[in-house]
Subunit: 427 residues, 4 copies
């Protein structure tokens, strides 16, 4: 999960503690505008209550560091081990996922106390552990911080889903989307293919599923210079895209009919005009902004309609590897995808940030992948079935969290993440 080199060097405890504090504080900053009632609701099984995210990320440090390495650590409540375990069978039994929204207690206040309790434990552990222990701490702590960053993104997408269910359409954080702009013409960036290396062996922190670095062969291909825009997706809608079975994967078509999909999640036609629920409330749909909250099925159907395809993850990574990691991340505070700034003739834009980009690659192990031993091995490997890979991060991802080799994964029917479409072409 983390290169062993990293853990052999002398640990910079001050830097580590600073990173820890930064990530932990940012999680709590995200809750600033919420009232206690907001922390409780679970609007579907995929969604967790805000309170649960706050507690589970603390449970992670408690379970994998404090309980194991801090001899005198006393849990604030032994039942939390059960309540806030997400899916680690090796750690013990857990509270059933669909029941997370049934818990009014512990209160929000108690959950914040739990965070303080764990933070104090971590403070002591980081600053007083022997050098050898400290070396074993770092990789797990880095994993814990990256884990918490993942839950920061989920916290945002989950609370968005919760608020969207409410006919009162509550605002998470007041803001105005930027004004409509001219949509850039879409261009195709060509790549020669050949034997490429993808994946990551981790000089810095990586997730285990990003490795090992290995070779793949790519035939020549092209990537779209920008993401598919809402205006383009509207053309698909108006061309009866949601009513033409020939455009859809069979499973997708079943879902379209069963759920009566007519537009992306959170779109609503109000007085004849398309609006979209955002974290700033209901907003008009800007034609130039990237379409978002579409499932893999919708992305694939759009690509079929457009006479193109979705990129494979190897194609995407090859194109992204040479780019700077910059874009509309959670730090921008916009919490919504933005229209592209200006066209670049040589490189695709918005590869990072704005929306996760569906690839046509199933989430499967790379050649030579082995999950790490123990409970940590459950982190990624056991989900390698039934999901598709997404790349590039979104407007709800931390900029420090993303990489060209980063593999996100969701089920093809999922829509509630900030998910969008980049087209590709097999040449």
């Amino acid at each position: 999960m983390v290169s062993t080199e990293a853990s052999l060097e002398t640990i910079d405890r001050t830097a580590l503690w600073q990173s820890y504090q930064d990530v932990r504080r940012f999680t709590e900053d995200l809750c600033a505008t919420l009232i206690p009632e907001d922390f409780v609701v679970q609007s579907m099984t995929d969604v967790s209550p805000t309170k649960w995210h706050l507690a589970h990320t603390s449970w992670f440090f408690e379970t994998f560091l404090l309980s194991r390495l801090q001899a005198d650590y006393k849990p604030i409540n032994p039942l939390y081990t059960f309540l806030f375990n997400s899916y680690y069978n090796a750690v013990g039994k857990m509270h059933a996922r669909p029941r997370r929204g049934l818990l009014s207690r512990p209160s929000v206040k108690e959950v914040f106390e739990y965070r303080r309790h764990v933070d104090e434990g971590m403070d002591r552990l980081i600053h007083s552990a022997g050098e050898e222990t400290a070396a074993t701490i770092k990789p797990v702590l880095m994993l814990g911080l990256n884990h918490e960053q993942q839950h920061q993104e989920l916290l945002l997408t989950d609370i968005k889903h919760v608020l969207a269910q409410n006919p009162l359409k509550p605002v998470y954080r007041p803001a105005q989307n930027t004004p409509e702009t001219q949509t850039q013409p879409l261009q195709w960036i060509h790549y020669p293919g050949g034997i490429v290396e993808i994946g990551n062996d981790g000089q810095e922190f990586i997730f285990d599923n990003e490795g090992p670095r290995h070779r793949e062969f790519l035939e020549p291909f092209a990537l779209a210079s920008r993401l598919v825009s809402c205006g383009e997706f509207l053309e698909f809608i108006e061309d009866s895209g949601y009513h033409r079975p020939e455009l859809w994967l069979s499973d997708g078509w079943s879902l379209v009919q069963q759920e009566n999909w007519e537009a992306p999640l959170y779109w609503e036609k109000v007085d004849g005009e398309w609006q979209v629920f955002t974290l700033h409330g209901m907003q008009p749909v800007r034609h130039s902004e990237p379409v978002c909250h579409v499932s893999y099925y919708e992305a694939d159907a759009y690509a079929a309609w457009a006479g193109a395809s979705l990129p494979s993850e190897a194609q995407w990574e090859t194109a992204a590897a040479v780019l700077e990691i910059e874009g509309n991340f959670v730090e921008s505070g916009l919490l919504h995808p933005e229209p592209p700034q200006e066209a670049d003739k040589d490189y695709p834009e918005q590869m990072y940030g704005d929306v996760w980009e569906w690839t046509r690659s199933g989430y499967l192990p790379y050649h030579g992948y082995k999950p790490p031993p123990g409970a940590i091995g459950e982190y990624n490997g056991k989900f390698m079935s039934g999901q598709m890979v997404l790349r590039g991060g979104s407007c709800a991802t931390s900029g420090s969290h993303i990489r060209s080799t980063y593999r996100n994964f969701f089920r093809p029917q999922n829509q509630w993440q900030f998910m969008g479409i980049r087209l590709a072409q097999d040449l």
Copy 2:
């Protein structure tokens, strides 16, 4: 629903306003120990969040009185009409019942503001309406207050169900059950039967389903002198009661197997001892207290095991009509059934309060019953299918709310109300 005589007399506005204030205040008193997070959760479709009960009871006055009779009444939020309608199709569309737990907003504070807003409206309406309007107000207001009393009981049984789902087993209100006592021997009180009159034509407030008063013929029968105790029900359990299909109705037996029922709802075997979740937290099961939170199927199976039956509602009402309305109601603050005090040789004990008593009567209209016209007609009549009648009130019912003619009704599988068993015999 209310005798027309009642509405012709001069209205005592002071008394009316006092009643209104008393009932409304008691609802809020029941929330005194809750934290905001508790008000939000819906633990099953039958259960509503506390917040919803607070708002819906206000919606009732707003919809059926303020919006109709108060010319200048301004709703605090027009969407509340949609959000807090329970099931009145005649009033308009409504928020789907299973989605009540998805609403973090309006906040608890806003819901209390909504109550204040309605209270102010009612204050003005009661005190400034012309005499003719005032006469039409009273029956609807009395219905609204009785409606709110029903929701007080539901608020308690619903929050109990919510807290019971939580592995932390939170306490609603700290208290100790009274100590164990000697169980009274069960005796049989005989009744001659003959043509009896049951039902109520309403000199005072009654619900429409209690009338008309009409004649029924009863063959001779006997009623048990007291409720079935937990100790007796334990004998049923220990005699494999939950594992003998011959004791059960077919639908009940299916449910027993499907849900793996082994004891009443809220019972749990902890270290070999039966405990029960109460509004005071987990408590040992007292053998002498009336068994509670049993479904009709369990009540019927117990009766079959005991060689008896459940009373019909006409039998029950005939026996209850001559008794004082006194018992362990919500005003006692015990919020849990109590063991019987002392045996009476001539009359059955605990007919009122402690637990609602399952009868063997389906909830069906009496001879000559017609639901009232308009939305109010949806109050009771449309539920006359698939439910069984219960009688006598419980430790969560207001003493001022119950009568010998009062017909409560639940589905045979329901357990989450304070429901218990009185045996009968056909002679």
Copy 3:
């Protein structure tokens, strides 16, 4: 179940064997027009394959008579005990009901061989049992024959349901419904009420649920002189009957919306004309024929729309007790309800035959009812919850099978029996 008197007299073995042969042969006559493929299908959980009816009725004689009283009886296949047990827990485990349609074997031929095998056993048992054994045989044998008659009716309603699912609309038995006639004007027959006796203590064969005979009090009431006709039901449909929630019980209204009910089961609008699937294939709806295949919810909604109610079973039985048992039974071969012949001013018509009449009475035990001991006790008693009583038999019932005290019962949502509506009024 059977009066003990009946079993004390000397048994007329010839008559018994004749009855046995008559009933058994009639079951097989009903299969004359079916092909082997028809015997296999189970179109919903309530429906059983024809093959299963043929076998289960034989299993009944095998299990309750041959295996118990015939020392040298050898079952043709020991697994049939498991396969063809319907719901008798006391007899042992059984093949799950929803899986009856998964059995292609035993073949139809083997099932008929099974019938022959049981018939031969019964022949020997009836003719060679000692006098004492013979006396114990008769009540069980009579029960078995009445049981088989019930399954004859189910066989017809089940195969009708199976064929109705098929877009080819196969004909069970070719025939023409009689031509349309003038609908008789509906009149009201008045009854004074008072203390009446209903129920049956069984000089002849009765089912246990018909007793004990007991007294009930009836307020004055009126019964409609005839059944509700299709023409009248069409007026209900055209008056938006299926779209007005105020007419419906709450559970019924949920079902109407969920299942998109717009007309009785088997009705279909073909080129603007209402047609109905019958055992003779698709036929135009005759306005004068009794409406059929309506649920309790539809019957109740129609009654509400018509400003009337459904009769209670005591009302129905009181009116029926004085009438001759004659009508359009299965023996007529019409297998479809017929328009009434001529109005009678003094008595209601079509009380027997044509369609089972929904009553407003829940299917519950009479005062003093006790199920018989042993497996036979599961016959009726355990179904006394969640069902409504129907009276009078239908065009699929044997005329020799019906009585004024006969209590049929189905769930309020069921439609697939020949079920119709007679109105009543509380005076």
Copy 4:
């Protein structure tokens, strides 16, 4: 789907008609031991009744050839177009898949008449079409024949599933499995990898999903010399394989718990000995035979337990491309996997026949894949989501039907095909 070269050459009508007759006759040969009742049952949604397979394969020729190219062709029943369309939206509406088992009609006899009717039409079309039409016929006819071969395999796996539901455990065709043999020691065959070409551009008939031929890069790998045996799988079972979450993909583990899986489908412990339901009835499990009827989840868990992985489809195809296509196919008549004959040191054994081999590759389009235009385009492309690729054919596949490039695909939970496990290693 078919190389255009193929259709330009002069058509050999005699050969074509011979192929047609051979395939069609073989389908009917497979039904020789069935009774009419067997043809009707649908034991789960994935399964189709035998009758349906017989009709649907005829519908294919009727729809895509006769109705389009034979001017005077008269369908035997226009409703068959609706009843026997499987999933071709472009052709029109269709009978819902889960309702296929509700159809007792058309009878088996009528379905065979339908086959004769289509065969006669095809005879005329093949022999009397003009040269130009004949050229367009051939690729569709070849597709139709390959389609029918696929349904021959499904017919066998579906009837096996139907018979397996029956407690009578009926025998499809009597036979004895061959006696137990010594299990060959498992060896690893090494492959160097590099840039390989896989896929097929079709000089002969291929399915569209096999192309285009394209390059992939493989790191060095090894394949197991033979399939995983029942004996080895038993070790997995006895090592608590079905009870150790760490071995399972998360979705698989959920299924194991929900369905209480303890062994492959069709295994049953009878008197302490493992038996397996085969098309010859219940048989003892031979340790040396390849394990069969395991899902992808079981295959993956077994591989994890064995410290290996499943092959990718490119690995499998690279190894298979050089091998003769020979093995235990449907023509052997064994209808059950066989133990391997003898070990080969240089090539893997049993790559073809016996059991389909789960690969770790998701069923996704190859680089450059485009589905053909029109309804035929629905054949394969729209299923490219949520399924895994299997390779090599089974004991129910025709030997003439399989190729090294053949891509079969099923959902990871499916077990009812003849599916087994070959291990691989990433070197």
